[in-house]
Symmetry: C2
């Protein structure tokens, strides 16, 4: 069975030393000590409550019995522990039942949840997302009724967007809503792939539903957002009548078995409008950066767990001899870790996970600053960064997470392929991250087609400046001079490619789609490299020698073996849409 | 559910026009017509017999009940169809109960089996391998008793190598054998991960077992090969007493559920020595090139099936609009195939599958020529090529197969992640190919540490000459001039890197392990590019205009988007072992 030790030391190091989160946020009461305490408490919770339920989550999974979903053993108790700790509402204001902590700590929370039990994450993430959406967009009455119940874990939540003929293309949503004479609404339609659509963990479930009001325009501009509870709250705010929304099917999936994935039928279900009619997508998209970052953490968290278990196995398993002759001659064989290719896999995992952790936490900080930054300018800059980097992080982390889980499973050989040891579960579980919250191809289009060009490239310009100024700040450090130089070159190459691709796209928008995925990866590798410079700078400034050695070694790996891939990706990104589009559809 | 149309036209085109198999082999009776007939018959069989059982093979899988394995519904009947068609013994001599067909046609057979039902393949491949091993190494009596029964599908077979503490490192094998006073042998020990260790398909199962005779040297030089039947044949060659070998456990795996994966206990089981004592590994390794090529075909075959089903879905599924504006304005959305990124996935799949098919079939031809070439020189040259390219093809095809299945699953979005549609099964099934028959990291070491350097680099020198002369032969074709030039550059880069890595390895063998995986991929991409030049040359020489357009377009994709990756892999391959080895084991 998999083991997991929450990397609370590294997370705290990044938050306090690399990113200086408390200083950046400048909130009353948010000290480094508080941050370390929170991280350590969450780590303990994930180790103790989630690691033990992960296997049953996969092997037993969810069941739909007589119209009610039964979650795997232990999920309800674990949820209760997180709720009781106040972690569901941690980022909500006190008036909404929350703790007023910054989003960046929620990033830390979700990384550790994903490592310990990936399929549990949505049970926490969904009420958080619903609460935040309602806190921002719902009327005072709805907010007062629903948000505290979500914040405290009394009620669960879902996001109901996808339909049988509408995944990426939300403009095709057919679920309808109509207003009754008393002002209330009813919703009719079928939604699929609804995570947590039903469960036996909370006494009520709050569905946020995108639907089309009678007479609304076609496409995404005719979508409104509704809150549609499983049980209609009664006048005292308790559980009232069962509403006409029910799970009719539970999907069998590749992995991710602990979360129920439901087909939901809304059959004239009572619902309440959230925000303005026909502005539903905008309300839902309040959450999009956070939601995508959490999906990125599925990749990152799974990769951390995979790394830990592969490293453990590589140190224990005796097989073969070092290529330079036996290193442990008295044993029947050397441990796997003497083999360069095994170390390639382990160091590759760390290059992604530790650099990615820093980037994810930095991104979490931007989400905080976009709301709580002290000036308009600061909020706009942070919002720009969050918008620009979110598709990069969502897509790259889910891709690299899958690749990392897969290569760490490879360390285990045949023992990784059998179910007993849990390595293959990580691969199956984290595979969902490449798909959900906008498939990765869409993220690449979002980056090149929208985020890079928005406001005349303002965000991209600011990002380049930020990276350059961070590299300047480290210019005095001998250890990283050469890496900085190479990173500047790579940044320059991405910049040149950006201009080239956008130039071509003026004549043919397919250039964006043709370049997207490879362009995004090149961009992401530069962003990871930037974080590695910051990590090493912070480690060199500290007095922990072991950390310094490790961070220098992993950074060296990154700059020797990962950054060089940037050029190849850019060549491919600039190879032209005609290569893909010339052949008629029926011949592709 | 997945559909599959056997690509018999493309396979025949490659065999007859690209590789000129009948001309190369120069066997009596082996005409292009015969080849096309065989390919088409096998294709029909795979479509009709295997595609329908693939889903149950995964969902129901094997069960161990009262000490006997039950295979999934339909597996026995399908096996019978292949046996009745004579396809199990197809490459054996007539005297062994075979058809005397070349190995290259068995490559075609297994590609199609792997596409239609990957987990069925071992039931065919194992008796083939066992029969060939016994035909080469067993005494006349053993050969006469066992080989025809294997060839005709009356009896099944296994290869028993792996043990709980011995996977890659066969020198650690602990299973023991001792000779009785009557000259017979008994075997004691435990073997794990034994494919087809027990099944209900054949009346008997022939285990080929690596074991250590009493007093034999430690390590791989003390291993002997034994044949150990489930039922000891009686004097008339029929089924006699139940032997003391039994399955004690069936592994639950990530995929590949149709084949039973057994832990086998040999408890003083009667056995017969095959070949010389202590020469067991050499006898087993007769089959290694063929066995590894079949594993490569797991990757290739799964990728072909994934491509077909992704292409189908991409043409049918309406979602979103072309980036240049609606192409099917009267429909509610455009089909996915208008999107460049979807085409990138599909053309990428074809660039691998069609180029890889040619390379696999070429490799099959080399295996034939290494045995039946007309001169010593020809046999040696073919044997060199087979030895050199086998690790490349095994490793690259299984890696690209997995990547391709995964990206084709991505085309289906969430509908690919649920089990109903079968796309995720392809990913889970073909994942085994990266592990079995020598994990891919080992293949890379084999290539750089042995195959490249063998006989002073004779095989590598001959391979470079072969590629160069093929490029010369196509030099008059305007369409491929530029590709040829780029391919020559890439070949030159691989050559330079080869010398550099081998030079460093003289001082530190870890350079081989550090370079291995990336070096192998660069090598493999050059080999694929070489095949694409040959494919396009053949297509240009033919009169099928559609084929010409398609092959030119896919080759263009390959040279624009795949070949450029060679340089990046070589940079990484030459980045030095110290990057990986400097950190102490406990800190990695």
């Amino acid at each position: 069975m998999l083991t997991y030790r929450a990397p609370t030391r590294d997370i705290s190091f990044i938050l306090t030393k690399v990113l200086n989160a408390s200083g950046c946020l400048g909130r009353d009461g948010l000290s480094d000590d508080l941050i370390e305490g929170v991280v350590s408490e969450i780590g303990r919770l994930c180790e103790n409550e989630l690691t033990p339920i992960n296997r049953d989550g996969d092997e037993i999974g969810c069941e739909l019995i007589d119209g009610v979903v039964r979650t795997p053993p232990g999920f309800k108790d674990a949820f209760r522990s997180f709720a009781n700790g106040g972690w569901i509402g941690m980022c909500l204001d006190a008036e909404d039942g929350g703790q007023g902590l910054p989003e960046v700590l929620n990033v830390a929370l979700h990384e550790m949840i994903m490592s310990a039990c990936l399929s549990f994450g949505d049970y926490i993430g969904l009420p958080q997302a619903a609460a935040k959406t309602l806190a921002h967009h719902a009327s005072g009455e709805l907010r007062g009724l629903y948000v505290p119940n979500l914040a405290t874990g009394r009620w669960g939540a879902t996001m109901c967007m996808t339909e049988p003929s509408c995944g990426t293309d939300l403009g095709l949503i057919a679920t309808s809503a109509k207003q009754l004479s008393d002002g209330r609404y009813t919703v009719n339609g079928t939604k699929i792939f609804i995570s947590g659509g039903d469960q036996d963990i909370t006494e009520n479930i709050v569905h946020l539903v995108l639907a089309r009001l009678e007479g609304a325009p076609a496409g995404i501009k005719g979508l409104s957002l509704f809150v549609c509870p499983k049980f209609v709250p009664n006048e005292s705010g308790g559980i009232g009548d069962r509403n006409a929304v029910r799970p009719v099917r539970l999907e069998k999936k590749m992995g991710y078995h602990g979360i129920s994935t439901c087909e939901m039928v809304f059959d004239g279900a009572a619902a309440w409008l959230v925000g303005e009619p026909n502005r539903g997508l905008a309300a839902m998209f309040t959450m999009v950066n956070t939601a995508r970052l959490l999906v990125a953490l599925q990749g990152l968290g799974a990769a951390e767990a995979a790394y830990q278990n592969a490293a453990h196995y590589a140190r224990e398993r005796l097989q073969g001899r070092s290529l330079n002759g036996p290193l442990f001659a008295s044993q029947k064989a050397d441990p796997l870790i003497v083999h360069p290719d095994v170390r390639r896999i382990l160091l590759g995992a760390r290059a992604f996970v530790e650099g990615g952790r820093a980037l994810a936490l930095w991104l979490g900080l931007q989400i905080d600053l976009s709301e709580s930054g002290q000036t308009d300018e600061a909020r706009t800059a942070a919002s720009d960064f969050a918008a620009l980097l979110t598709p990069v992080v969502k897509s790259m982390f889910s891709d690299l997470g899958f690749e990392t889980c897969n290569s760490c499973m490879q360390v285990w050989g045949g023992h990784g392929y059998i179910r007993d040891n849990g390595m293959e579960q990580l691969v199956r579980d984290c595979r969902i991250a490449q798909i959900q919250e906008g498939a990765n191809g869409i993220q690449a289009l979002d980056l090149l087609g929208r985020k890079i060009t928005a406001e005349n490239g303002r965000a991209w310009g600011a990002f380049k400046n930020l990276v350059r100024s961070d590299l300047d700040a480290s210019a005095h450090l001998d250890e990283i001079k050469e890496w900085s130089a190479r990173l500047l070159c790579a940044l320059e190459s991405v910049d040149v490619a950006t201009r080239d691709i956008l130039q071509r796209a003026q004549h043919d928008r397919n250039e964006l789609g043709s370049a997207g995925v490879d362009y995004l990866r090149a961009f992401g590798l530069v962003a990871l490299g930037w974080m590695w410079v910051r990590i090493v700078s912070a480690a060199l400034a500290g007095d922990d020698k072991a950390r310094r050695s490790e961070k220098l070694a992993v950074a060296r790996f990154f700059f020797a073996r990962e950054l060089p891939k940037v050029e190849g990706h850019l060549v491919v990104a600039q190879s032209g849409a005609d290569v893909l589009m010339a052949l008629p559809s029926e011949m592709v």
